[in-house]
Assembly symmetry: C2
């Protein structure tokens, strides 16, 4: 199918109606009306075939994930997503694949009232780039550089499920469907991120593995973190399939969790507000550590002994 | 080189200082402060190795072009560019290639005061996605759907040079350096686009070839265009190397021109304002046709005889 046919196919399905879209797909660029007084929040992430998802992954899952990883970045800023653009590089113009991709992409876009307003379709190895745009009240954005000594460290949901599913897929044996769902259909914590705006002192989404991502918070905030390796949520499910050390490594170095890791000032008021915000969004949150003076993340087990993973966090080009 | 090293390398060089960048590269997303009352304009384009540029193209030229094609889309909307995000997929993390790429990318960004505020670096076949963001006064955006019967059709600069350079590169013989420069370093007509805001009735950038792109204007505006094939600017230079029919085909179907094609209401006032706007930006503009009732572009030669190209416009997946 030719490029203009593909664009028309996408345009025909793309419209999540929003009053602030002056002009969507079909011109040289999109025209959008930002709400007055808000800051614009912009993130861009790319998924490549065989790198970010196994070759042959169902198109709908690729579509879902391509938007989810971007919405997760906006969640980590405490932002409200509004619009996105999509660039699809396809080895051929297979309309059935594009339809499947849109099934997943637009299902998630609809859940978050995000309008697909533009982008590009080109020929090339399968690759998907997405840019998401959203808003945040000035001063309420969650950044990486606000953690202070004494703050508590929390994470949402559970850690390690996606990495565990990938291990099972690679091993080729039995697979846990619930873990697989976490790999294929991560749920960006958008509502939680917004609830934490003005409450959490720092926030990041866990995409490269908790140790690596928390390390970014430490570096940006010029602090250290003491991480309780045995407090990480989600270990029970993983222990059905993996040994204790493997579980710990999956949880801190696995990547693809798309949970939020955030810090909260230690005062009772801030903690109560963070807990109330999380409760209102229905997302479980777990305290996993403390911000300390120093640099980097030190993991300790339940007996206070230092713990190191078998392998470092996921990193491209490693 | 590892991903975080690459990001740091990009961040260290990226900063075009702008007061409206609250938070640039280095967090989960960029934080930006849009100017009050303006509409946001967003375009996203991808270049793939071997599809949009020949494999082995110098990194600096790839960098320049990756931003140029996006700025050209903003130019076609009459918008002022402000910020961009960049996603680089690299087969390996070669820092020398990235440095060269940034040389070209940031040179053009600096010319237009565009700040690189975020993006992604991933492993994969060489591919570059860029999203540009800019502004336009409400009601002054140049769209494709505003052409009316009787309007004049104009183009900026010259047509066919980039396609001619590609032909010469493919043929492997003598090459015209000035034509090659047009292929490698297209100059987005940002100032001209802004000057045409509120004056031109429709506008598009010429990226897929004049016939194809003018066809989009016709479709969006529900009009036809009578195109004077012998009025197209830039033919003289091409005739040094190519025969008459080949010149015409390069000019209307070649692609990669990144000129603006725009329509102007026929009244003397509008034409004078468009001409004055163009003159102020130092860009030559040439009248090449007339908007007529009907649909699609009909090309005619200087004697009024219908003319058809040997091949249709450039199209992916064709």
């Amino acid at each position: 199918m030719a490029e203009f046919g593909l664009i028309e196919r996408i345009r025909a399905r793309a419209a999540h109606p929003r009053d602030d879209v002056v002009l969507g797909i079909g011109d040289d660029a999109a025209l959008l009306q930002p709400p007055p007084g808000m800051q614009l929040v912009v993130a861009m992430d790319t998924l490549n075939d065989g790198v970010h998802f196994p070759h042959g992954t169902e198109a709908a899952r690729v579509g879902w994930k391509a938007l989810a990883v971007n919405l997760s970045d906006l969640a980590a800023m405490g932002a409200e997503p509004a619009w996105c653009t999509l660039s699809l590089s396809l080895p051929d113009g297979d309309p059935a694949w594009v339809d499947g991709f849109l099934d997943g992409f637009l299902a998630l876009a609809g859940e978050h009232r995000v309008a697909l307003v533009g982008g590009d379709t080109t020929r090339g190895p399968l690759s998907i780039s997405v840019t998401v745009l959203g808003f945040v009240d000035p001063g309420r954005a969650l950044r990486r550089d606000g953690a202070r000594v004494g703050d508590q460290v929390w994470v949402s949901g559970s850690l390690g499920a996606a990495a565990a599913a990938l291990e099972q897929w690679r091993a080729g044996g039995a697979r846990d469907a619930a873990l697989g769902e976490r790999l294929d259909r991560p749920r960006p914590r958008v509502a939680l991120g917004r609830a934490l705006g003005g409450v959490a002192s720092a926030c990041i989404d866990v995409s490269d593995g908790l140790l690596a991502d928390l390390g970014h918070v430490c570096a940006a905030s010029a602090v250290g973190v003491l991480l309780d390796i045995d407090a990480l949520p989600g270990a029970d499910r993983l222990r059905r399939w993996f040994g204790g050390e493997a579980v710990r490594t999956l949880q801190v170095a696995g990547g693809d969790d798309y949970e939020l890791c955030f810090t909260v000032p230690a005062g009772a008021d801030a903690i109560a507000r963070a807990a109330a915000g999380a409760a209102a969004t229905g997302v479980e949150v777990t305290r996993v550590g403390t911000v300390v003076a120093g640099q980097g993340v030190q993991a300790v087990d339940r007996d206070g002994r230092p713990w190191r993973p078998e392998r470092p966090g996921h990193e491209h080009f490693a």
